[in-house]
Each structure stands twice: as C-alpha cells, then as structure tokens.
C-alpha cells in the first residue's frame, strides 16, 4: 500500500484547463473565420493563411531551438499568431511579404522578449505593423470578394517574387468585369467620400477588405462561442466595442453626413476581429478586472479617433499596440485593495 504514495504540496486538486487547451480552443474558434475567408477570396486567401501560419510556426520552432528551451510550438499559441496575421492582411497580399510579416511578428514580437508570456505586444500585430510600414501600397491593395474563378486562379499579386514590387492587379480586376467595383473598402469609401455602404453587407461580409475581417457577424459568433467556453475574457471585446461606439456617437449625432454611425463603426474594418481575438490576447492585456475594462474602452475610442482624424483608414491595429504598451500601467493602477489593508497597492 505504501509503494505508490506520492508526496506533493497542497493544493492537491487542479482545474483541468491548461495553456495548451486554451490556445487550441482559440484556434478552433478561428477556423470558421478562416474557412469563410477562403470561401470569399479563394485560393489566394488559403495560400496566404498557410504561409503566415507556416512561417510563424517555423520561426517559433527555430528560436525555441536557438534558446535551448525545447520545442514551444506545442503550446499552440504561435498558430493563433499565424492565423490572425493572415486574417488581417489583404487577400492578394504577396506571399513573400506575408512571410516577412510572420517572421518579424514572431521573432521581434515574441521570441525577442522570451517567448510566450513575456511579449509586451500582440505578435501578429507587430508583424502587421512592420509590413504596413514597409509595404504601404501592397497592404492597401484590395481585391473584390467572390471573384468568379477564385478557386481556379490566384490573385496575380499573390505570387510576386521576393523583393519585387507587387504585380499590379488593376488589369486583372478589370478583366473580372464586376459592377460597381471601386477598389476601396467600405471604411475608405466612408472616410473619403462620406458615403456609408449598406450595413448588412458589412455585417455579413459581402464586401472587400482584409481576408478575415469582412464578416462582423461570423466573428461575433465565433467570439461569443469562445467567451461561452470561458477561454476569453468577455469584458475586453465588450468594452472595446463599447468604447468605439460611444466615441463615434457624439460625432455622428453632430454631423451624420460627415461622420460614420456607431453601427457602421462596429461592423466595418478590422474592429470586430481585433476586439474579440487580438485585444483579448491574455498575455498583452492587463490582469485586473477593472483594468481590462479601462484597456478595452481605451482601445475602442483610440481606434475611432485614428479612423476619424488620423491619416489612416483603419486604426485598430495601432490602437491595440498602444493599448498593449500601456497595459502594465493600467494593471498597476487598478490593483484591488488587499483584504485587511487600507492601501491600494499601486505596483503591478
């Protein structure tokens, strides 16, 4: 009877949830969004997602080998980074640039800090921010959704050779002979022409845009499922969206012909995907209960401010990166009062 007895320290029970399971569940929640992206944009989107994910995994593996930590790919967090990065890029984004984005995101955004848990910012967004600066034209070149023959041929720019300018898609798009194609996303149309495209299209994803950001509805469903599985802090997306809507509201009320409605703000661009899947990144968000709400509201309102008054069409990426940067500060401001003490300890 004595033989198998093990000595351990309390607590002897453990909740059956691990980092690996959380990450796998997030990947599962992202898969429908990826599938819709492929359905909408065809082979190019598939190759794009495969490239970002593959390169992200390879980079993680390479640096974990280099640091002698053992293989850290198995915690699945890098798969999320790869998929998210792919989803935020334009579907016709040259693959070699996507590979650069994935490498930079994982290498500079994660491995440099010491890997999972130590990164200050969301690695996928670090990668995207890098290519946004490096390839400003390619990252704002949009192609139409549901192009005929999208499962048979690639968008020409996809196969641009490394270190070359992207192959122009204008002639290819013209060849598709689509009615009403302007080459702009709803966000850009609103910003520069002050015309709000129909809301239902933006909500269901029947529009141009980044590979995985078009259908706010689908993203909402996947995000809600993840929150219901308790793998995501629902307070973050809810406060991001609330922050965005509340910031947009007064402007819209003041001048509806010039400023977008809160509904349009919520369903357009990358806000929905970012709120549910990127701002909620556990590692880069604050740890306190009140902190995440402040963090979310901050990101939401910053997004709208950049959209309305910045030079960029979409601001959610920079809003989250800035939110990540101030996250630790928010954490330290919002430490709860410790039982039996009167002080609110401010170190976080």
């Amino acid at each position: 009877m004595d033989k198998g007895i093990e000595i351990r320290t309390s607590p002897h029970l453990k909740r059956v949830v691990s980092v690996e399971k959380i990450m796998r569940t997030v990947v599962l929640a992202l898969l429908p969004i990826c599938a819709f992206a492929v359905y909408q944009f065809g082979l190019s989107a598939l190759l794009l997602l495969a490239t970002t994910t593959g390169v992200a995994i390879w980079t993680e593996w390479f640096f974990s080998r280099l640091s002698g930590k053992g293989n850290t790919v198995s915690d699945w967090s890098v798969v999320i980074t790869g998929l998210l990065l792919g989803l935020t890029l334009p579907p016709g984004f040259p693959l070699w640039m996507a590979a650069v984005a994935a490498f930079v995101g994982v290498a500079l955004g994660k491995a440099l800090f010491g890997g999972l848990g130590y990164n200050v910012m969301n690695p996928a967004l670090v990668g995207r921010a890098f290519v946004q600066a490096a390839f400003p034209v390619a990252i704002t070149t949009w192609t139409p959704a549901f192009a005929p023959g999208r499962f048979a041929e690639l968008i020409p720019s996809t196969l641009t050779l490394p270190f070359m300018q992207p192959i122009p898609v204008d002639t290819w798009v013209a060849g598709l002979q689509l009615d009403g194609w302007s080459g702009a996303t709803p966000l850009a149309i609103q910003k520069f022409q002050h015309i709000e495209p129909p809301l239902t299209d933006a909500f269901t994803g029947m529009i141009a845009g980044s590979a995985g950001e078009t259908s706010a509805l689908l993203i909402l469903i996947c995000g809600l499922w993840l929150a219901w599985q308790r793998m995501l802090d629902w307070r973050i997306p809810v406060s991001v969206l609330a922050g965005a809507a509340l910031t947009a509201l007064p402007f819209w009320l003041a001048d509806a012909s010039h400023y977008p409605s809160p509904w349009f703000v919520l369903s357009s661009g990358g806000l929905m995907l970012a709120a549910w899947f990127m701002a909620s990144d556990m590692v880069a968000s604050p740890v306190t209960a009140r902190g995440v709400v402040i963090y979310g509201l901050f990101i939401g309102s910053l997004t709208v401010i950049i959209r309305l008054f910045g030079g960029l069409v979409e601001g959610v990426m920079y809003a989250i990166l800035i939110g990540n940067a101030v996250g630790p500060l928010i954490s330290s401001w919002t430490q709860p009062r410790v039982y039996g003490t009167s002080s609110r300890k401010s170190q976080g």
């Binding site: 198998g4 093990e6 000595i7 607590p11 029970l13 410790v338 039996g340 170190q347």
Partner: protein, 480 residues
C-alpha cells in the same frame, strides 16, 4: 467603529425578527434566486461530498497501537507524565500543557505505554510521541472525570477547563481553543462565529456533526458564549448543507442569541477571515487576530466536543474523521481515537486500486503524508486517498505565466499571485511582503488551482514566507 456597530445592529435586527418576513423568505426560498452572503473571489472546485454526506458517524475497532505526538497543536509541545510500561485508562491524562499556549494529552484507549520516542508526522520531521499499546480485552469505557455544570462556572474557570480538556481547533487549525477564548487586553469579543462551512472538497465530518451532535454543539456554543462574553453566536454554514441549517434552526432554543446563517458554497468560505467577511462584512487587519474585530471563530466540531467534554471534566480522545476519496472503497465518517495510524483507517475502509496521494485534511489545504504510519491527530478532519493518474491531480507541464488574470480573480484576499509568482522566481522575497502583502496569504491554494500554466504558486509563496520568517528571525537575533 461607530459605523461598524450600526451595520452590526441592522444585521442583528434582520436576524431577530424586526423584519420577520426576511427570515421567512430566507428559509422558504431555496437559493434559486437568492444569493447567500459570501466574500470576494474564490473558486468552485468539484465537491465530491455526495460520497459521504449521507453516511452517519460510525465507530471502528481500535488499532493495535496508537501513536500520540506531543505536539498536535500550535504552541509548545505537551510534557509526558507517564513512564514506559505504565498502564493507562482511556481518558487519563498522559501529558500536560507546558505553557499557556499548549494543551495536555489524554490516553485515547486503555492500554500500556510501550515507548516514548520519535514518530513520523504529516508535516515531515519526526517528533516525540507516546506509543500506546491497546488492550483489546478492555472495555474502553471512559472512566475518568466527574459531572459539573459549566453554566455556573466563571469565564476564567471555563477557559482553564477548556485547556485541561486538551481542546484545539478541530477544523484543521489546531490552535488551542482556550487561547482564542481569552482575547488580548483591550479587546472585547462581541460575536462568536461558529464555523460549519466545511468548504474543502470530500470532507463531510462537520456536516454530520451538525446533524448528529446538535445538542452537544449547542451546549458548546453556550459554554463559549459564557467564556468569551460575546453577545451572540452565528453559525455559518455553506448552502450545500441546507438540511443542517434547517436542523439547527429547529433546535436552537428561542431564548438564546444564536442564529444559523447560510453562506454561499465557495472555497475557501471556511477560512476564518473569509467567513467573518461574509457574515459580518468585517476584515481582520494585516497581522492581526480575529479578536481585533471583536470576533472569535470556532469550528462546529470543536464546540461539539466542548459541549460533551466540559460537563464531564473529560479530555479530547477522539474526533470525527471523513475517510474518502476516489481510491477508497467504502468511504464514510468515523469516530476515530486520536493516534490511530492512517494505515489502519485505510485498511478498515478498503481501497479500490492503487493510491496516489493520501492527504490529511482536505485536498486543497491538507498535507500529503510520506508514510502511512502517520497518526490521526487532533486537527485531522479527513483522510483523503486520491488515485495516481486522475486528470485533476496529475502533475502537468508548467508553462510561462500568460497573464490571464485567473489567479487575481480567484485570490480571496485580492493579492496579485501572477506578480508574486514572478517575484518568487526572481527571488525578490522581501518585495513580495513589503509591496505585495504576501504576509496576508494563508495558502488556500486557489491560485494554483486555477492557473492554466500549472505554476505551483502556492508552493512558491510557502517557500517565500518561510525564507522571510527566517530572515526576520536572523535580523532580530543580530539586533540583540
């Protein structure tokens, strides 16, 4: 302070019927819409109480040999007054208290002292113990003690009698009960909190005590009220034991200031600090005692024993122990003589397969024994045998902290275990206490339980606290 008294008064008013309908609502509606009082944060581990909750307390045969460690309580060890070879009668004192913070020991069975020497303990190091060989032919009747009326005794006499009975906190704390009844100068106890929460998974001994030893429990509460001069007593019971609450409410005499209140079933509701917070909304200050907020907390098991032992001038020789867990074939609640080896108990209940850990106390805060020769001591409320490869006990890969914040949402005293864990790894032990209130941590284990990265936070904190204690001791020695 004035404000606090006002709050207490209004709460008292609800209980004593100025708002009688509230009380009726309380007992009428069972917690579908109503949320019982509780503290902030905490966790909801699977309870597994159904294994033993319905099983009445039973006696087992005596083991061949009992091992009675001289230190089963906080404070100084007891001093033996018997010699090897001496025959003792069940209930006879065999060791006396060494100091105010110490308690005597009584013979748990009629037999002969075989040896006085080292014995293994759950804590790890071997300690001095009395080995008592049991006479199986003896009647094992308690022949010691004489009848007296605690109702007529003075507070001081009661406190002395409680020490003479060898009573300690039977809920697991093992702090001598008489010390708690004697608040430091300048402190007045206004409320006696009777702890019937039993928030640890698997354990049901307190549940059974409330159901089966109700009269002894109420007698004990009366004695404790008299000794502490508290104005009232509140029995706090988790709302997974509504039958016990109803049973107690039916038995409490109308003329006594005793109430039974349901608190939410949540771990660690049974920790003193958390129960006081839930029932009275008071917080024990850092480094302070419950007496600092005018409260004394006693476990229901302790008071039931007090109600039994004091009127008969007897000593504590046995206690109720829940023997349960997935590895146990016939789990149950048993009246176990102090000093019974764990091996004997497990043989009595039988095992259904291999055993992983054997835990004294509950699985959240209890200690895994290194040897089955470890005896049941006064503070052992349960013996829980876990299976080796169960998914909720198996040791899993440790990942880096992903800052998910689960531990902050779990910590009942609102510490930042995530930050404390990183400081522990960096060996910044001083900072942990000075800036992050590590000294408030009572090692409930909630942070380790929820951590998805499987970081052994509680273990880190235990080590850090012990290093800080040593450093402080060292510092004080230097100054002298």
């Amino acid at each position: 302070m004035k404000h606090q008294t006002a709050v207490l008064d209004s709460k008292l008013a609800v209980e004593t019927g100025r708002f009688g309908f509230v009380k009726r609502l309380n007992s009428g509606f069972v917690s579908l819409f109503q949320r019982h009082k509780t503290f902030d944060h905490g966790i909801y581990p699977v309870e597994h109480k159904e294994l033993t909750a319905h099983k009445p307390i039973r006696r087992l045969p005596f083991a061949d040999e009992l091992v009675i460690p001289l230190q089963q309580h906080k404070g100084r060890p007891a001093v033996p007054i018997v010699k090897v070879g001496q025959e003792v009668v069940r209930g006879e004192p065999i060791a006396v208290a060494d100091h105010f913070v110490s308690v005597p020991m009584h013979a748990p069975a009629t037999g002969v002292i075989r040896a006085i020497g080292l014995a293994p303990t759950a804590e790890g190091p071997k300690t001095q113990a009395i080995y008592l060989k049991v006479y199986h032919a003896a009647s094992q009747e308690v022949l010691y003690g004489e009848h007296r009326e605690p109702e007529t005794m003075s507070g001081k006499d009661i406190i002395q009698a409680v020490q003479d009975a060898g009573l300690v906190g039977l809920g697991g704390g093992a702090f001598p009960s008489h010390v708690k009844m004697h608040p430091p100068a300048g402190r007045v106890i206004h409320t006696l909190v009777v702890n019937g929460c039993e928030c640890e998974p698997y354990l049901t001994c307190d549940h059974r005590i409330m159901l089966e030893q109700t009269d002894a429990l109420l007698r004990g509460i009366k004695i404790a009220l008299r000794a502490t001069r508290a104005e009232r007593a509140i029995i706090g019971v988790e709302d997974n034991k509504l039958d016990a609450i109803a049973h107690l409410r039916a038995r409490i005499p109308k003329d006594l200031p005793i109430t039974a209140e349901a608190v939410r079933t949540k771990y660690p509701q049974g920790a003193e600090k958390m129960l006081i917070k839930a029932l009275l909304d008071l917080e024990v200050p850092t480094g302070g005692l419950t007496a600092d907020v005018g409260v004394a907390v006693f476990n229901v098991g302790t008071l039931a024993q007090m109600g039994d032992l004091l009127p008969n001038t007897q000593g504590l020789i046995e206690r109720v122990v829940t023997v349960s867990g997935p590895a146990v074939a016939n789990p149950g609640n048993f009246m176990v003589p102090i000093g019974t080896p764990v091996r004997f108990l497990l043989n009595q209940v039988g095992l259904n397969g291999p055993v992983g850990q054997v835990i004294l106390g509950g699985p959240m805060m209890g200690m895994a024994v290194s040897s089955l020769d470890v005896p049941v001591t006064k503070s052992v409320s349960g013996v829980v045998a876990l299976q080796p490869e169960a998914p909720d006990v198996v040791r899993r890969q440790v990942y880096p902290c992903i800052k998910c914040g689960e531990c902050l949402n779990a910590c009942p005293i609102s510490l930042n275990p995530s930050m404390l864990g990183e400081l522990a790894v960096a060996r910044e032990y001083g900072t942990m206490t000075e800036e992050y209130h590590l000294d408030q941590c009572f090692e409930c284990g909630c942070c380790s339980y929820v951590c998805p990265s499987n970081i052994p936070l509680t273990q880190y904190f235990r080590i850090a606290k012990s290093i800080n204690r040593d450093a402080k001791k060292h510092h004080e020695q230097k100054q002298h």
